[in-house]
Point group: C3
Chain length 318, copies 3
């Protein structure tokens, strides 16, 4: 099970920024490419007032801050340069859908998608959409958000594929800002299966790819959840990928790169469950030779060694 | 709005030490100089039992630990070498003024200031004082501390300028050791204005420069607070600087370097409010090419690029 | 007081992994050797389901995950290469002894020790045992665990020395995953002395070396605790070492390298108390030129400078 895609964590809300410019991002796409990554997923085009591109829509309607750089343009350019597919994440208000106002979340998101498609839809690397709202259960109007946004994105773009990356509401599903690492309100495989059957039946045809995050349950539980996910995806005509998290959820520092042994266990569980592709959250902080977290370069090397890839971290450092 | 000064975070109480020796500090002053920094502010000469210089006063009266290096002497030397002004921070007991005994805080501080002036007052770079006690509101005897210490420092040193750097008791004013990032006891602009009017009227003539920390309120609120601060400073005859924090208060890891976009927003707010100068807390961990946090080198580069400075982080790394 | 040993933090449960391969570990042993380290202590051979070597025992009885690398074999090889003594840590279930089932902790541990001795007992560098269960007080069946495991290890190995490294239940003894840094349930020197007298009288003859962790009380309290520890060790015929922690317990980030000044204070306290040898937890994250935490290289340099050792961090970086 190879990792063939990565999220781009802009705008991050819980992982500190590396302050990279064009040169550093170019270098990082080069390293991704050497590791076999052919797909990059911008996790969100905006978050609260923060934007990845100069959005008139978000500036006017959400009082967004005009960004100093157009990251969408830059990521598309590097995706083209390195022959990658670019998926664009939608907007996360950080409030509406948490407060029961998911219609407002939908309204602003449609305007963002229209704007984004008008600005960047012609770009060669623009190959799909990511619905940025992440959930673990059938709550917060998520069925309507996924179904309506998925259809809207597909209709505006001539049917480009739509990706979601939910999480398992497992024993490690805690708030990133909590010092805890164990969740008190986790659910087991049965409840997970029941609720995701309900969600998937409601979003069939609107979402093409489901890539569950793989870090919220214990390692030995993962295969069971993945088997359920794969079966559900098949039932509703979706591709089933895994979002193999490259950061460690078991440590007091939230978050640093994961131990290779843990990542390998998760990739093997995905393979066993018949999952089709693996992407990761995310390369640039947690697996990259260029990461400010030097443990990431070690993870890159261990991954490449294991997969007989010639790339080594030291060859990519500036 | 350029950054022309930085704190030196010795003794740190919440940011891990980099274990630099003379060579590393020399290198760091060189990088500061290249970025346009002409003023360094030693945040405190002592904290609890820890000292920046071999203080007989603190050793005897506070059972202080004799330090392995005289940092005050070394910082003065490098300030002289790079043509910078050095401001010396006073002593923070970490207890007296928090426990209602601010007279004891004053007593020990006067003895420290006398000792420090006797030891280092003749040094060419010694150009001012920093009153190290930080507050957000009119509490803890702060008016007496600032007024009395400011006058004492000025009288002993022939009128060298006195700097304070309070914080806004805003929505992000939480204890550094709390996992939270949102404060429950924040105050708005009106209360802030009222209380700081009271404080400044009580310390007029004792304090020359007020440089509020800029990280405790939301980004869009900052300009409003700064306009108030500038008006108050003008009313009471003080210079109004900003202490532009170079670390990120929005993340689970407390603390790593701030995203350049956020810093830029804050500097623009300061410019808009007519603030006179910007200093930062602090260069060596959060903006330096030499920082153990490699994101800091990125911030250095983004700052220099934006300001058309030729310096780049890679040219300063050892 | 020189540092002559270090723990190897595998399997870590609270310090993120560096993802090193053979080459990096070889490089790190070389740096240890240059700093004067002659003893390495594998902190545990397994933790919960994680293993340092491919253990049939743990795989079968604890559903352990087969590891991608045999770390015990590799560490023994590098210990031999650099002329070091290797101590092997026992197994920590992470559950039985915390839940009152310390007999189960003993049973699985004896099976692990038998297996380990059969696999690696003939290796030249295998020079001792470390009993991995750490306590601060006479609780959790620790007397039986130490006494019985110590005797078992010695009997199987022809009397190889047995090491323990307890902690002081002092004012900084908090759970690593707590945001707090101050403990509410600390004990003073008298209770410490009373309880450790009870423990040591119960484990006499089973344990040869006691190396208390030195980071759980305040710096000025340390010498008093150490004098007690040294006296107790002498009374019960044990060697008294110190485990000088090289990470900083006083900071919001748990954990980064300690400030050299703090480490020096602790080493001086140990010397004053007549402690015989110092080891550290641990070199590879917190004192190593190769650490992902670059502050560690600074600590290495300050330590080497102070001790007139020619080694410098820059000479060991890859």
């Amino acid at each position: 099970m190879k990792i063939v895609g990565t999220f781009l964590d802009e705008i991050s809300h819980d992982i500190p920024h590396q302050n990279w410019g064009r040169e550093e991002w170019d270098c990082d796409f080069k390293a991704m490419h050497a590791m076999g990554i052919d797909t990059v997923v911008l996790i969100r085009s905006g978050h609260k007032r923060w934007m990845t591109y100069p959005s008139e829509v978000l500036a006017k309607r959400e009082n967004g801050y005009m960004p100093p750089v157009d990251l969408v343009d830059m990521y598309l350019e590097f995706s083209e340069k390195y022959g990658m597919k670019f998926f664009l994440g939608t907007y996360d208000s950080g409030c509406y859908w948490h407060n029961g106002e998911y219609r407002k979340e939908l309204d602003i998101n449609k305007a963002v998608v229209e704007e984004v498609w008008k600005k960047y839809g012609h770009r060669k690397a623009f190959k799909g959409w990511y619905l940025t709202q992440e959930v673990g259960r059938a709550k917060l109007g998520i069925i309507d958000i996924y179904a309506e946004m998925g259809k809207f994105c597909k209709s505006i773009s001539g049917g480009l594929p739509v990706l979601i990356s939910p999480y398992i509401k497992g024993v490690k599903a805690v708030w990133a800002f909590s010092p805890e690492i164990n969740a008190k309100d986790s659910i087991g495989v049965d409840t997970h299966s029941k609720e995701w059957n309900e969600i998937l039946s409601g979003i069939q045809g609107a979402v093409d790819i489901m890539a569950f995050q793989d870090g919220h349950c214990d390692y030995h539980e993962l295969a069971d959840f993945m088997v359920v996910n794969k079966a559900l995806a098949t039932r509703y005509g979706m591709e089933c990928w895994t979002n193999c998290e490259s950061f460690d959820r078991d440590m007091p520092i939230k978050f640093l790169p994961i131990k290779w042994e843990k990542m390998l266990l998760k990739l093997k569980a995905a393979q066993k469950a018949g999952v089709e592709r693996a992407i990761t959250f995310e390369f640039s902080h947690f697996m990259s030779p260029n990461s400010a977290y030097l443990q990431a370069g070690g993870l890159f090397d261990r991954y490449c060694e294991y997969n007989n890839l010639p790339a080594r971290a030291k060859d990519f450092r500036g």
